[in-house]
């Protein structure tokens, strides 16, 4: 009888429960998160960025894609409304903007405020949410991480960052960057593809 039951294909609901059980806890501790992220060698995903500001009649929506390869190669590309590409590879970062069909190198990447954002993105994708000494990282319930600046100078730029981790280990579903209560950026990631080899030129060339 038992043999017969074991030989039957597992009911989809049972598979779901088992899968959920296996995933429970990956984001309960920093060790679990680091272990989950350690399995990730590369990530490809699309994202939607919503900029919310009190002044805006409606949120400003941007669309783009990201490629990440551990430990620190990143291509962060906006398709709309402005086609721009941020490339980080071998410790060097460059940003290019398309204007009238041509890509031009952009100097905003040198802004100190931008350096903070770029450093954070690569740390998150490595699962090192608590690695930046400038932020106090707290792990709250339901796989949510809250990063709060430790210094007043940084708090003037960013009030806090919240990251919603996916049920699937190593994946971020959503990031909220609060500059104030009525000025924030929401990034929603979709269609993640993990551990697929990425050609190095993705991180070094705009096309």
């Amino acid at each position: 009888m038992l043999y017969q039951r074991l030989n039957k294909p597992l009911h989809p609901a049972i598979i779901l429960i088992i899968s959920a059980y296996l995933c429970i806890g990956w984001a309960d501790t920093w060790e679990g998160i680091r272990a989950g992220a350690a399995q990730i060698k590369s990530v490809q995903a699309e994202f939607i960025q919503e900029k919310h500001l009190k002044i805006l009649a409606r949120p400003l929506i941007s669309n783009g894609s990201l490629y990440f390869e551990s430990p620190g190669s990143l291509r962060w590309e906006y398709i709309t409304p402005i086609h721009s590409i941020l490339l980080i590879h071998n410790g060097a970062s460059k940003r290019y903007i398309e204007s009238d069909g041509h890509f031009k190198e952009d100097d905003a990447v040198r802004l100190q405020a931008m350096q903070v954002v770029m450093q954070e993105i690569t740390l998150w994708l490595n699962g090192r949410f608590d690695a930046n000494p400038d932020f106090q990282a707290s792990l709250v319930q339901n796989r949510k991480i809250v990063l709060t600046p430790k210094q007043d100078a940084l708090a003037l730029i960013i009030k806090r960052i919240t990251l919603q981790l996916s049920e699937k280990p190593g994946i971020i579903d959503e990031v909220m960057i609060f500059e104030s209560e009525d000025s924030y950026t929401r990034l929603v990631f979709k269609n993640p593809v993990l551990n697929l080899p990425i050609n190095e030129t993705i991180f070094t060339k705009v096309r």
Partner: protein, 222 residues
């Protein structure tokens, strides 16, 4: 290469020192129509614009940002925000018609002089001069022109070219200080240009290319 740069520099210097262009007078009956055409170039009421701003600054630095500008032509107020493409707000300031209030400024966008320059640019681009036109007529190439004396030594020309593109030229004395060039839209029914280029002359030279992303009427927005 150096020779070309020298030629460009001399040409720009000559342009900045050029005298105000001659205006051929028109019949009084035509003046009113030209005056209306000059006025119609500027947005009326409460409007909001979202632009990509390509800035070309002294020293060859180039950057692109997103600018949000809310204006009211009735009470001459401005609220503007500049942010990176990633959404990081670098500057948030308000001009209440008298003074500028900086709500947020991330270095190097936190200085009062930066805020003043930015508000001056917005006023030049989006607001019809507050003084009446003192000369209305045509230019040698057939363009329509309205000239305003905006201060004791400052003047402003609004020029409408025969192809529909238009330009603002701002002078201090006889010296050209800033120009605004608005391209003709592919959709000519839209009055506000989709692409506006601002150039400044003098010691603090820079240029800004504004490309429209969105625009909204704000009559029902707080």
């Amino acid at each position: 290469m150096k020779y070309n740069l020298l030629l460009i520099s001399v040409a720009m210097l000559l342009a900045s020192c050029s005298a105000l262009p001659e205006i051929a007078p028109v019949a009084p009956s035509e003046e009113s129509a030209i005056r209306q055409q000059c006025k119609a170039l500027f947005p009326q009421g409460k409007r909001q614009f979202v632009h990509s701003i390509e800035a070309d600054m002294a020293g060859g630095r180039q950057t692109t940002m997103i600018g949000v500008t809310s204006i009211s032509s009735t009470d001459l107020t401005i609220h503007c925000v500049m942010m990176t493409i990633e959404g990081l707000v670098l500057f948030d300031g308000v001009f209440d018609g008298q003074k500028i209030i900086i709500n947020r400024g991330v270095p190097p966008f936190d200085s009062p002089s930066f805020a003043k320059g930015m508000i001056d640019d917005i006023i030049l681009i989006f607001f019809h001069p507050q003084t009446p036109a003192v000369h209305i007529g045509t230019m040698e190439d057939g363009a329509l022109i309205c000239r305003f004396h905006t201060g004791k030594e400052t003047a402003q020309d609004v020029v409408i070219h025969p192809n529909g593109s238009w330009m603002i030229r701002q002078y201090n004395g006889n010296q050209l200080r800033r120009t605004v060039q608005a391209d003709v839209n592919a959709n000519t029914a839209k009055r506000i240009s989709d692409k506006i280029t601002l150039n400044t002359y003098g010691s603090q030279r820079y240029s800004l290319i504004l490309k429209r992303i969105e625009s909204h009427h704000l009559e029902h927005h707080p």
